[in-house]
Symmetry: C2
Subunit: 367 residues, 2 copies
């Protein structure tokens, strides 16, 4: 194997596929990146078996071949090389010579034969979605994915497509985050549960451009095709919770509040709340005001902010972190909170548009 | 105690004195900051017994008094408050009420009686030095302070003043870093060994302005007076090594090299070297070239850079990190390396000016 390519392109490709590579694996081969020449391009592959990423870059292929190179060391070396042409040559015993201007680095690689192949998914009836929308959907829902494995299906997000509408939902038993969007698609009803870890890496790879991504769902995998880069994730098997029936349609108290002001107050209350056992904040809704209080051994916080309040007064308590997670994720200036009682879920939506829904269970501490 | 002051001033003062406060102390009182009213100013004090910092801010004092407040929580709360007036009131049982616009925070504090007093140092014959020079001296020498405690005196830097010249020296048995500067001072010969940890915090507090700092040396302490802020450090007792006799005056090989090019090459070599046992890089000086090589199980690096070489050819090995530490600290474009044999120290200086000296012992691997 022998090829030349630009340092810039090579680095970008290595950093992309590296997102699927485990920093520490019991199999050293899986800590590596597969390089494989293909006619006039170079293919790079990284995988942790759950997630696989392959990307292609322009390269001048002088001799065909393939090899696996330790990912972390390769990316560090390439990052430190000057922005010039790089020549890569496979020597004997899978060591790889990298030459760039006056630098010559030899790295010990591995035979590529045992490197796992990414699943072969034929792109039939792909779903087309803009990178910008997909990135937003991931960003505003992924934090609600369950982190404990007691119900594996909840460690992923549901992606559902129906009638030109795409929905992403994450929930962990305490809160639910849902983001909808519209796509041009004639495809029928489809759904898939994508592991949160895969989705996080996908979010880090796609930029916020208007370009489209093709998503293909197969029985056991989902493929995100970005053109030069293909991302393939294992899907989670099982039925996702019927989230529609969890979201209440009625409310007895509706509050409209400025997101920035609310965020500042809850941030301060969180500093005191987190010193306590339950990380609790209490909200009191009355007289066109929201008061937020928190107590712990370290002290107390009392915050008062103006709100637009319709309906009944209410006193309710939440986990401070679950509230903050949502406030940090959404970009909207004003939000609307719909509440019924202090033991029933609170539904939070941006005032403008109804594409985003956050549902948060209160903590029962009253009467 | 009751006072008002601006959030901005209060935050800056808290962050300054916090640099002397241990994050975790066996005495909770030492995790706190002392607030004490003094006529029309507020005094803040932080100390870990080795280092003490006091600072004064303008405040409208309504009632005199003092209290100790947990440092970390106080700084986090103040940081999250809006840029407005803050009112602080001491309540019963040493709890402290902080009010800012619509926020009310109560923090549990401690009685100030047991809080250690900073040593009283009378400023006789202070040394005046610009903040910019002191900051540079710290930045370019502190990394060579010994980290192991086997020779306690080497865990500090020597500050020496004589005949209008000020010198700071750190050394750890493997390398020495020395920075000189000129000051306007008629004071006689003075020297003091300042703990590296204190010096690091002092470096973080002083900005790079042209203003002067007064340094007063007493038997057991050194005082840095910045005007509104006074920093007092314990000094290390004992005799510092006679560093002058360590620095060789002769050389048989002199190399002049571009700092940036050398840094890039050594960075790449370090990536391979650090995978090995001894973190070794080898330099070969010959034919107006420096070649840098490193080897480990992970691979090899060979770097070739142009140099101006006078005198004998030489092959010599160094610890890669000790070489990089210096390259990262000095801002000069070109450096000069003076060498004698591959078992005697290498002296590195900027080509312009002779105020900075770095001495590095080679690693013996040849013959």
């Amino acid at each position: 194997m022998k090829f030349t390519c630009s340092q810039n392109n090579f680095l970008e490709a290595v950093l992309t596929v590296q997102k699927a590579v485990s920093a520490r694996s019991s199999t050293p081969l899986l800590e590596g990146i597969l390089l494989e020449t293909q006619k006039d391009v170079l293919k790079l592959v990284g995988t942790n078996l759950d997630l696989g990423i392959e990307t292609y870059i322009e390269a001048d292929i002088r001799e065909e071949g393939s090899v696996v190179i330790p990912s972390r060391l390769l990316s560090e070396i390439i990052r430190k090389l000057p922005d010039a042409e790089i020549e890569v040559t496979l020597l004997g015993n899978y060591s790889v010579k990298i030459v760039c201007l006056n630098s010559l680095v030899t790295l010990q690689g591995f035979a590529p034969d045992e490197y796992p192949s990414l699943p072969d998914i034929s792109e039939s009836e792909p779903i087309e979605i803009s990178k910008m929308l997909l990135a937003k959907m991931i960003r505003e829902t992924i934090f609600a994915v369950a982190t404990d494995e007691s119900r594996p299906v909840l460690t992923g997000s549901l992606l559902e497509v129906e009638d030109g509408e795409v929905t992403m939902v994450s929930l962990d038993g305490y809160r639910l985050a849902l983001q909808k969007g519209r796509i041009e698609s004639s495809a029928g009803h489809r759904k898939v549960i994508i592991p949160g870890k895969s989705l996080g890496e996908i979010g880090r790879i796609i930029d916020g451009s208007d370009d489209n991504i093709s998503i293909t769902i197969s029985d056991r995998h989902v493929l995100f095709d970005l053109g030069y880069t293909r991302i393939i994730s294992r899907v989670l098997e099982g039925e996702f919770i019927n989230y529609r029936q969890i979201i209440p349609e009625d409310y007895r108290t509706r509050v409209k509040v400025d997101t920035k002001i609310l965020t500042s107050s809850i941030e301060r209350a969180s500093l005191i709340a987190r010193e306590g056992k339950n990380n609790l904040i209490k909200l009191n809704l009355q007289d066109q005001k929201m008061t937020i209080t928190a107590n712990s051994e370290s002290g107390q916080v009392y915050e008062e902010i103006p709100v637009l309040l319709e309906g009944k007064d209410l006193e309710i308590a939440f986990n401070a972190r679950y509230f903050m997670d949502m406030l940090k994720a959404i970009p909207d200036q004003e939000i609307c909170m719909d509440l019924t009682t202090n033991v029933s879920p609170c539904v939070i939506r941006p005032i403008k548009g109804s594409d985003y829904t956050y549902l948060l269970l209160p903590v029962r501490i009253f009467g």
